[in-house]
Amino acid sequence: MYSVGDLRKGLRIEIEGVPYLVTEFSFLKPGKGQAVYTCRLKNLLTGSAMTKSYRSNESFGEPNVEEKKMRYSYKEGEDFVFVDESYEQITIRAEVLGDQKYFLSEDMPVEGLFFNGQAIEITLPFFVEKKIIQTDPGLRGNTATNVMKPAKIEGDYEIPVPLFVSQGDVIRIDTRTSEYVDRVR
């Protein structure tokens, strides 16, 4: 059990069977009054966020969550197979990965978050490099980065890139936002 005094940014708590991550936290206490602990909470199952205020007598469950370092191995049908540090194979459903599934590559190190044994979140390295397999011809010399055009990377995932990026180029992508960062070569 956690008490309100344990609340801090980054803590994971359980409320009515649902695991939440505290993403913001503030302690407020009016003169002579009781303390009010206000949290911004991210639902770790759905990703949705909410703000909640708690008094000093409240308590929270400790969610049974586990973090595991894994490496991506291969795709099996609609599922993705990873190997953990003890060489156990772990199969993750595509919906847990969302768009991140397009950024995986063989042997990529990832962190898996499990709640009661079920994978709820896979965190990739923040930046990955991907080759452009198809885009309209690049406008050489146009180095503006604010005008974008669609481009496809391996796996047929479409991502907006600046006009100067050409087919065959390798670009860096931020896996947290699924956005183009820069051209590598």
Binding site: G5, G33, Q34, R55
Partner: protein, 304 residues
């Protein structure tokens, strides 16, 4: 204790030193005696929502209030103190478990006289520290001159939270609405004083003569920060004992330690204490205003 950013803190700590000196000068020039009372005490003041940190068989003081009032009872007319206070579990943007408090008291005075002191003090600091009647805090200009807005607590609640805590007091709702509905809507371009708290939220303040449903207590806000709490001090030993006992009961019910009553303090009231007014001001928050600091840890050299 973290030493992170100690060199970056230097301008704020220089400001802190100037503010503390100016506060001292203000009170000494007006004939106040600077007092030091013990930091380690056998019984902390009984407050429903303030927990003391134990220190051996003793406690660290949560405020110097009861000792200061014992001096008043002995006829000390004008006294002040600047020193460390400790409150268990209070840590946030405006709170640190150890913080620095200024308290000042006047004998034969009430909370109105203390409000005049507060206005003079803030004006004095503005002139000494910034040489100007206004400061800029977190991007907002605040006019500090004594034309302060005084709002009865009841009006502030009716206007911003839609109910009167004076007619029907609800402690839980009072605290939460104060934080979520009232404080965020107070004017932020000048100091604001909330006056006359519901008698149930009186703490150690006396009831208002002719209007016993409220207590003579005010709180000063500057830049959205609660800076000063002031009372016409409760000097009636019978009512004081009853309030302590009720508070101990409520603490017991809430599962918090119920400290024993400070009998030495009660005995000094029983000898007959003249009317008095007093206030407590958070020095760290005062420095935050003048150093334009968003968080308390920016104005204390070391924070826990």
């Amino acid at each position: 204790m973290t030493a992170d950013g100690l060199s970056e803190k230097k301008p704020a700590l220089v400001m802190r030193s100037r503010v503390v000196k100016a506060v001292r000068d203000f009170f000494v020039e007006r004939g106040f005696i600077e007092i030091e009372t013990p930091s380690r005490i056998p019984v902390p003041a009984l407050e429903l929502n303030i927990d003391a940190v134990p220190s051996g068989d003793y406690f660290l003081r949560t405020s110097p209030e009861l000792h200061m009032k014992r001096l008043l009872a002995e006829g000390y007319e004008r006294i002040f103190q600047i020193g460390p206070c400790f409150r268990h579990g209070e840590k946030g943007r405006l709170h640190n478990p150890e913080f620095t408090m200024l308290e000042w008291y006047r004998l034969n005075a009430d909370y109105n006289a203390i409000l005049v002191d507060a206005k003079m003090l803030i004006s004095f600091l503005a002139e000494k520290i910034v040489g100007n009647s206004s400061i800029v805090y977190q991007g907002k200009k605040i006019e500090l001159m004594p034309l302060w807005e005084c709002i009865p607590v009841e009006d502030a609640f009716v206007l911003n939270a839609g109910w009167s805590p004076v007619k029907h007091y609800d402690a839980d709702r009072f605290d939460v609405d104060l934080i979520e509905k009232v404080e965020p809507n107070l004017p932020s371009d000048r100091p604001v004083v909330l006056m006359d708290y519901p008698a149930e939220a009186a703490a150690l303040a006396r009831r208002k003569p002719g209007k016993p449903e409220v207590a003579e207590r005010w709180e000063l806000y500057i830049g959205g920060m609660e800076l000063v709490n002031a009372f016409s001090e409760l000097t009636d030993p019978v009512e004081q004992r009853r309030r302590f006992e009720e508070c101990a009961d409520e603490r017991r019910k809430a599962g918090r330690s119920a400290y024993t009553l400070d009998e030495e303090f009660l005995a000094s009231l029983e000898k007959g204490m003249p009317a008095a007014g007093g206030a407590a001001l958070g020095i760290d928050r005062l420095v935050m205003l003048f150093a334009d600091a968003a968080e308390i840890k920016q104005v204390r050299a070391f924070c826990s």
